[in-house]
């Protein structure tokens, strides 16, 4: 046993240290060097989730249910994993609109509804008071256990530790929670203290765990093996006692939602958040904290069960009794301090959060809407605000104490905590639904909350009252009015799950059902639609967007005077001055009293007195036009239209860019063609000038010298005739090519036998070949398919090819060979020579206009248009013309005509 004075002394010393930390945190904040602007502190402050329930209750739960204590910590782990999806949004919204409590948040979403704000506040107070009682009960019963006193004895209330603890905590909370009225409602000193307490409780619990596991027992193996042998404990090592799978799942969901909805969690995670980037580290650090504080729970529980005979000592107190019975006095004291820190941190934050809600969302709206109050109220209301909050703190703590005195003895710690959890998750549909669903309405939220709360009351709270002896047990055992279907713990005969799951299921079903059904009953009003868009789109839109929904007239002086009453004149002027600077205006008086300014003033005021009260007060000094639903929808539509337009614009500009690209390509191609045309023109004129020059030269010679002898004259005239012929040929070919290229050429298609045709050409072109002293050889099959082509054109091609070949054969032993072959799908003609051949790089060039390979004499003799024309002709009939050559071994010009050209007569002949 430890003496009472030692424990009280240590506790007092601990509280003094806590005061010191909080004071230091506040000092640093005032000096502008925030202690809590740090992701580690933020994550640790979230650990206010771990209360005396975790510290003592988990072990108690593990002693009967094995791993059944875990879902309460797995739920929040899952929520932190998606914190950017939920918590980040809540933080953004709250920062933009200076929302300071969960009641404010919900009320603000649904058009700053007073009714909703007060409902949420009431539900929170009713739901949380048992939870606060749980903390008082834990500390006072552990104190009693250590000192041997019996806690909660009626009669000697003034000796009750719980009462004194409640009073000390009230003092602490008042000092650090309501030190001054802040427009952001942040309490740096308190957060510093909470983070400190989180470290203390973790270290204390881990110390107990290590000592129990490694000193009292001989490590994990010893503990678990001993437990496996013990008859009652073996089941704790399996999932046999954790309850049904549905219960496990429900508890995970319940704790995940409660982690978001508990007023104290909202306070530390959202309101006290300094920088939203801190959320990132908390994403893993907070789950890590939970893991660490849970790892020794089962070992301590097993240790207690092994050491103490059954039912002698409450498993909830194993954390203290185990080290105490083994003689570790200092450790026991440390463990007690750890439990104290767990309890006090919860009570402090929860009380601050609740008192803010009671003041801003319950009392102030009532007072401010009261005409008589407005008349006698003092001009400066800051003092009154602080007074209300301090009063609320004392009242809430005393309520907790009262609940503990009257009902707290009947229940294990965990059961009380779960009742509170089930109460606060009633906020979830309205809050989460409101953040993601535009269609949610105020009436829907009110109906859902009311229905859920009523079911919670009936299925969970009233039965707990009955078990405490305040109500007759009859209605629990046989249903209200004796109707069995209405038995509160097995509604409509649903009895497969435990009481908590049962209550969670029915209350959530009623809550969500009513919320959705009533929301869908009527379209949202103008104010609701405006707020909905502001909340749902917070991650997309800049927060000032809310000012769009305001129209009216205001005077700056009125706003200044109003705000000064709640925040103090100096602070208001400073805030307005910085606002003016951000607007590029030098003096406050020059500011334009527009929607933005009114919104700024309202947000500033909301930080101090809540959005509901702020709305009431602002409305009293400015003249506002009420926007109809159509106008709000128009504004929203405008915004979405602007977005749509900008998307359209982007698409158009993309299309334009593509079009420009195409145009540029087309332009380049045109320029290229233009260049080709110019080249062609200059080539043609050049080619025309050559024969003209020689014609003119010889004509002049004949004209100038009449005495030229006859033989000479004949030779000159021969040249002139030859050159004229060449000129004619050239002009004809140019015209020909132009016609073919432009598609105006005339084609006279007849049935042509290629053998016949080649023989004909050989006759006419044979002269040319012979004139070069070369041989023309024909290699023809006995018969080929008749083709339907233009005979004259083909003669032109073949003549051209044979003529070319003849020009390039060597002076002696020249040979031109024409080969005709029919393949499966084409008829092919090869014209081979044994000239010098064509180098590979020139093979493509010779098909271009006016490009010629130099003949054997070195001087080009053709017009340079023969091959291009031939290729055009062959391609016109769907065939192709190409050259293959190895320099030194002659060249082969070949063309193929597809057999699809076969004349109809030939086709029928073949088919038969």
């Amino acid at each position: 046993m430890l003496s009472g004075s030692v424990i009280v002394g240590a506790s007092f010393a601990y509280l003094v240290v806590l005061f010191g930390v909080a004071l230091y945190g506040d000092r640093r904040a005032d000096a502008g060097r925030s202690l809590i602007a740090n992701p580690w502190v933020y994550a640790l402050s979230l650990a206010v989730y771990c209360t005396a329930w975790t510290y003592y209750g988990s072990v108690g739960r593990a002693a009967t249910a094995g791993l059944g204590f875990l879902p309460v910590y797995l739920g929040p782990t899952l929520v932190m994993g998606v914190s950017w999806l939920v918590l980040l949004k809540m933080v953004r919204i709250s920062k933009a609109y200076r929302i300071t409590s969960i009641a404010d948040f919900i009320a603000s979403r649904y058009g700053k509804s007073r009714l909703l704000a007060s409902m949420v506040t009431l539900v929170a107070v009713v739901g949380i008071v048992p939870y606060i009682a749980l903390q008082l009960k834990a500390v006072s019963s552990e104190y009693g256990l250590l000192t041997g006193a019996h806690p909660g004895n009626a009669g000697d209330w003034y000796r009750d530790t719980a009462l004194y603890m409640a009073l000390v905590l009230a003092a602490f909370t008042m000092i650090f929670g309501t030190r001054h009225l802040d427009a952001t409602e942040r309490h740096e000193g308190m957060v510093a203290a909470i983070a400190f307490e989180s470290i203390v409780k973790l270290i204390a619990f881990l110390a107990v765990g290590v000592v129990v596991t490694y000193f009292i027992f001989d490590g994990w193996e010893d503990l678990f093996v001993s437990a496996a042998i013990a008859p009652d404990l073996a089941s704790l090592l399996s999932m046999d006692n954790v309850g049904s799978k549905a219960d496990w799942f429900a508890l995970t969901v319940l704790s995940a939602l409660a982690f978001l909805m508990l007023p104290r969690q909202f306070q530390v995670a959202v309101v006290e958040n300094v920088d939203e980037r801190h959320l990132k580290r908390a994403t893993w650090l907070f789950p890590l904290y939970l893991l660490l504080i849970n790892i020794f729970v089962l070992p301590i529980a097993l240790g207690g069960m092994l050491r103490f005979p059954a039912d002698v000592i409450d498993p909830d107190s194993f954390v203290l009794t185990l080290p105490l019975s083994e003689g570790y006095a200092t450790l026991t004291l440390l463990a007690f301090i750890g439990g104290l820190s767990a309890a006090t941190s919860m009570v402090i934050v929860e009380t601050i959060a609740l008192s803010t809600m009671v003041c801003n969302d319950l009392v102030m709206p009532l007072l401010l809407s009261n005409a008589r109050f407005r008349r006698w109220a003092p001009h400066d209301l800051t003092g009154l605000l602080l007074l209300i909050r301090r009063g609320a703190i004392v009242v809430i703590l005393l309520l907790g104490y009262l609940y503990f005195r009257l009902a707290g003895q009947a229940y294990a710690l965990v059961s009380i905590g779960l009742i509170s959890f089930a109460a606060v998750v009633q906020f979830a549909p309205a809050l989460l639904g409101g953040m993601y669903w535009r269609g949610a309405t105020r009436n829907g939220a009110v109906a859902g909350l009311a229905a859920g709360f009523a079911v919670w009351l009936y299925t969970l709270l009233l039965p707990s009252f009955a078990k405490s002896g305040w109500l007759p047990m009859a209605f629990v055992e046989s249903g209200i009015f004796g109707i069995e279907l209405l038995m509160p713990e097995r509604l409509f005969g649903f009895d497969e799950v435990n009481a908590t799951t049962h209550a969670l299921f029915w209350s959530m079903a009623a809550n969500i059902g009513a919320f959705v059904a009533v929301s869908l009953w009527r379209p949202p009003t103008a104010v609701e639609a405006g707020q909905a868009s502001v909340f749902v789109d917070i991650l997309k839109r800049e927060p000032r967007g809310a000012a769009r929904f305001w129209r009216g007239q205001a005077k700056i002086d009125d706003l200044l005077a109003l705000l000064a009453r709640f925040l103090g004149a100096e602070r208001v002027r400073a805030n307005f001055a910085s606002y003016a600077r951000s607007r590029g205006v030098e003096y406050i008086e020059e500011l334009e009293a527009d929607g933005d300014l009114v919104h700024f003033a309202e947000t500033l005021l909301a930080g101090a007195i809540g959005s509901v009260s702020a709305r009431v007060m602002i409305a009293s000094v400015v003249q506002e036009e009420t926007l109809g639903i159509e106008e709000v929808m128009n504004i929203l539509d405008e915004a979405s239209q602007v977005r749509a337009y900008s998307r359209e614009l982007e698409e158009k500009s993309r299309a334009l860019e593509a079009a420009t690209q195409e145009l540029r390509a087309a332009n380049e191609r045109l320029q290229e063609l233009d260049r080709v045309k110019d080249d062609f023109m200059s080539s043609v004129t050049h080619e025309l000038r050559t024969p003209l020059t020689s014609i003119r030269a010889f004509s002049e010679m004949l004209l100038d010298d009449p005495k030229t002898d006859l033989a000479e004259r004949k030779r000159f005239l021969g040249i002139i005739v030859e050159e004229t012929e060449r000129l004619t040929r050239l002009v004809n070919q140019v015209l020909d090519l132009a016609k073919i290229e432009s598609g105006h050429a005339q084609w006279h298609e007849t049935d042509v036998d290629l053998i016949d045709l080649i023989e004909h050409v050989a006759d006419t072109a044979g002269q040319l070949v012979k004139s070069r002293r070369a041989q023309l050889l024909l290699d023809l099959p006995p018969a080929v398919t008749l083709l339907r082509v233009d005979r004259d054109r083909l003669i032109q091609v073949l003549t051209n090819l044979i003529g070319n070949a003849a020009r390039f054969v060597p002076e002696a032993g020249g040979e031109v060979r024409v080969v005709l072959r029919e393949t499966a799908d084409a008829v092919r003609v090869d014209v081979c020579d044994n000239g010098p051949g064509i180098p590979a790089e020139a093979q493509a060039e010779i098909f271009e206009k006016f490009r010629q390979a130099s003949g054997s004499g070195g001087k080009p003799t053709g017009t340079g248009l023969g091959l291009p024309i031939s290729r055009q002709i062959i391609e016109h009939f769907g065939g192709h013309l190409w050259v293959s050559s190895t320099p030194g071994e002659g060249a082969v010009f070949s063309f193929e005509l597809p057999r699809t050209l076969a004349s109809p007569a030939a086709q029928t002949a073949e088919a038969s």
């Binding site: 797995l74 899952l78 994993g81 503990l223 999932m239 893993w284």
Partner: protein, 65 residues
């Protein structure tokens, strides 16, 4: 882009944890097997928990860079 990837990773990790921490997966490990005396289901829960925390930490501290 990077941010969106990190967020998808976080969601996937959370979904996995939700699956692993509930029936039927959790109950599959409810056997008489013990490792150094520690029941398998205990190791499973805390092992998965630690792994999930490690992945979350990696994603938010390292993965997005």
């Amino acid at each position: 882009m990077r941010k969106a990837l990190a967020r998808q990773r976080l969601v996937a990790c959370t979904l996995f944890a939700a699956l692993a921490f509930n029936a039927p997966l959790l109950w599959l490990f409810d056997t008489a097997v013990a490792v150094f005396g520690v029941p398998l289901v205990f190791l499973y829960v805390f092992g998965i928990w630690a792994a999930v925390i490690a992945v979350l930490a990696w994603v938010v501290e390292v993965g997005h860079r």
